[in-house]
């Protein structure tokens, strides 16, 4: 197991910068999530780390050693692919054994290790099947077993849950996280799903256009977004952003934007809010509308706990007194970066 460090990595495809100078430190045993929209360069970074792509410039260090020119097979890194990349002509047993056979391990040891990995992921009963005879969840476990069987220095996961259905995804999320904590393996996990990122990552690196916008714990990312991109990319619905009179932007989370009488008296900012539309989602009510005196590209959203807001009290078409605690207001400069706190 080892720390992974990227130093100013740039990758250019036909004069387009897919990765545009990413420096990232993933300490030993950390679960790091790379979060970003499609085409932001997160998968390219992952492929550079495991050696499937060669960076145009910059250094990659694994366990303190520069591995720029070391081929994938010698980097000791395991990767799990979006569609798993299982070998269809091999049984599960041979799939898991493959990384060991490439290392010319004696076959007795291979059997032992395959048994160990299969037991670890609870797929012992599937060893003689072929990948096409497995369900999506089983395939995912086989892929994970294959990645782990040779005890890699780091594990890279490229959107591993995107081929599972919603229900399975929740349990697989738990499993991967538990598993990672148990083994203490340095893990880099790529996803565009913020629920996965928030729920699994020790830290999250938000990436856009080949650059890291912010690195931090899920709480830091959510509470203190470094710029407008992070503020609007993380959170569902995203942070409300309105233009300020004095230039720059003002942001606040929909769940902090509440009717005036639901918030205490000290340190609040009041707004006049006209509700246009409301959605009842069971555990909450989302209302959309406009704010008096503020411009916004998106409709302003407020997330109301339905237990407190009866259907009739916030009526579409009417102006209401809404407020946000001052401590929950975030200010951004005109450039989009976060203003220093005040």
């Amino acid at each position: 197991m080892a720390a992974v460090l990227t130093r100013d990595i740039v990758k250019t495809f036909d004069e387009i910068n897919a990765v545009n100078g990413i420096s990232l430190r993933v300490p030993d045993g950390e679960f790091m999530v790379l979060l970003g929209p499609s085409g932001c360069g997160k998968t390219t970074l992952l492929r550079i780390i495991c050696g499937l792509e060669q960076q145009t410039s910059g250094d990659l260090l694994i366990g303190g050693n520069i591995v720029n020119d070391i081929p994938p097979r010698a980097r000791g890194i395991a990767m799990m692919f979006q569609s798993y990349g299982l070998y269809p002509h091999y049984t599960v047993r041979n799939n898991i054994a493959f990384p060991l056979r490439t290392q010319r391990m004696p076959s007795q040891d291979i059997q032992k290790k395959v048994g160990w990995a299969a037991q670890l992921l609870g797929i012992g009963h599937l060893l003689d099947r072929r990948p096409r005879q497995l369900s999506g969840g089983e395939r995912q476990r086989v892929a994970l077993a294959r990645a782990l069987v040779r005890e890699p220095t780091a594990l890279l996961l490229d959107e591993p849950l995107s081929n599972l259905d919603a229900k399975l995804r929740t349990s697989a999320r738990q499993e991967i996280k538990n598993f990672q904590q148990r083994v203490g393996l340095t893990t880099i996990y790529v996803t565009h799903d913020q629920v996965e990122a928030m729920g699994m990552g020790d830290r999250i690196a938000v990436i856009d256009h080949g650059r890291v916008r912010q690195v931090g714990t899920p709480i830091e990312i959510y509470q203190d977004p470094a710029d407008l991109f992070v503020a609007t990319f993380v959170g569902a619905p995203p942070m409300n952003i309105v233009t300020c009179n004095g230039g720059g932007y003002l942001g606040f989370r929909p769940e902090n934007f509440l009717p005036r009488d639901m918030i205490g008296d000290d340190g609040v900012t009041e707004f006049s809010f006209r509700v246009d539309r409301s959605e009842y989602l069971g555990s909450e009510r989302i209302v959309y509308g406009v704010m008096d005196g503020f411009d916004s590209k998106q409709p302003i959203t407020a997330k109301l706990p339905p237990a407190h807001v009866a259907e009739g009290s916030v009526r579409p078409g009417e102006w209401h007194r809404f407020a946000v605690k001052n401590s929950e207001l975030r200010r951004f400069e005109a450039s989009g970066n976060r203003s220093t706190r005040h």
């Binding site: 492929r47 495991c50 050696g51 499937l52 994938p72 097979r73 890194i77 395991a78 990767m79 692919f81 979006q82 569609s83 798993y84 990349g85 299982l86 070998y87 269809p88 002509h89 493959f98 990384p99 490439t102 290392q103 072929r130 096409r132 294959r146 040779r150």
Partner: protein, 309 residues
């Protein structure tokens, strides 16, 4: 009172929508193909079976039934056994060479290089050139006096004029020549098969193998090749069947010579049945291939079904 024209109730024909019925349409559409196969494949095959069991010659056209006597007689002919062996050597030699060339060609054509599209289009040419033209061109290259291959080797100082091989005069070299020509005709087809197969292997699988520590050879022979094997096997069936039944190259290049060294079943059947007019024996020689081909095809198809992934 104005008379409003009364609509005449037109009797709707039962057959008006007959082509909208799926079963009828299916029959109509498939019928020409079935008819075609029956007339052009089934009928001649049946006729050949009848001929092979009769004593039919063009001098004495009789349907007298002789059972398997024709087959017994050709099996007792030592020349026929040589022909059989030649056919196997010719078929498997040229298929093997074609497959090897095809695989290397496919790998070269997968690499990006300027003009790749043009090369990919041109590579199909040996397959498209009429066999007669191609064989005559090769005949010049293997000619005892004007061989451009010999000329090159002499000019390069590899052999002297006296030692220069007589390609079509030496029994082994003549067999090599027809194998080379057939492989040359077959390899563009093999390239296409390999190209299609290799590009159909998901990139994730190849990447996974790379990260799992497999180098170039292991990726090729343990991952890619086994995955495309069913496809290659289909190509091979085509190649084997076509080569087994082929007589054009032998007919044009060597006429079975020297001394019967390149005589193959198709050629022998043609010589006996058409040229010599012994239709019954010719048919027996031709049909001799049928069980062999059947076995090859059945085995290959079974293999593919087992490997289906």
């Amino acid at each position: 009172m104005a008379v409003i024209a009364e609509p005449v109730a037109k009797p709707i024909s039962r057959f008006r929508f007959v082509l909208d019925r799926r079963d009828v349409l299916e029959t109509v559409m498939v019928a020409p193909a079935i008819l075609y196969v029956l007339l052009l494949v089934g009928l001649p095959l049946l006729l050949a079976v009848f001929y092979s069991l009769s004593a039919y010659t063009i001098y004495n056209p009789t349907w007298k039934f002789v059972g398997l006597a024709n087959f017994e007689q050709i099996l007792q002919n030592p020349t026929f056994l040589d022909t059989l062996r030649n056919t196997f050597v010719f078929t498997f030699g040229s298929q093997l060479l074609g497959l090897v060339l095809g695989k290397f060609g496919a790998f070269l054509l997968l690499q990006p290089f300027p003009g790749r599209k043009i090369v990919r289009a041109l590579i199909i040419l040996p397959f498209a050139v009429p066999v007669a033209l191609a064989t005559i061109a090769w005949q010049w290259m293997f000619d005892s006096l004007y061989s451009v291959i010999n000329w090159t080797m002499i000019a390069a100082g590899l052999v002297t004029r006296e030692e220069a091989p007589n390609w079509l005069g030496n029994p082994y070299l003549a067999m090599l020549c027809i194998i080379i020509i057939n492989a040359w005709r077959f390899f563009p087809f093999a390239i296409v098969i390999f190209l299609a197969g290799i590009t159909a292997v998901p990139q994730d699988v190849i990447d996974a193998a790379t990260v799992d520590g497999a180098g170039f050879w292991r990726r090729n022979y343990q991952i890619i090749l086994p995955m495309i094997l069913p496809m290659v096997a289909i190509g091979l069936i085509f190649g084997i069947v076509f080569t087994f039944t082929d007589l054009s190259i032998v007919f044009l290049l060597t006429m079975g010579g020297p001394g019967g060294a390149t005589s193959v079943l198709g050629f022998e059947g043609f010589q006996t049945g058409i040229v010599s007019g012994d239709v019954a024996h010719g048919a027996a020689i031709s049909l001799f291939m049928l069980p062999v081909l059947l076995v090859v095809v059945i085995f290959t198809l079974r293999f593919i079904r087992r490997r289906e992934i």
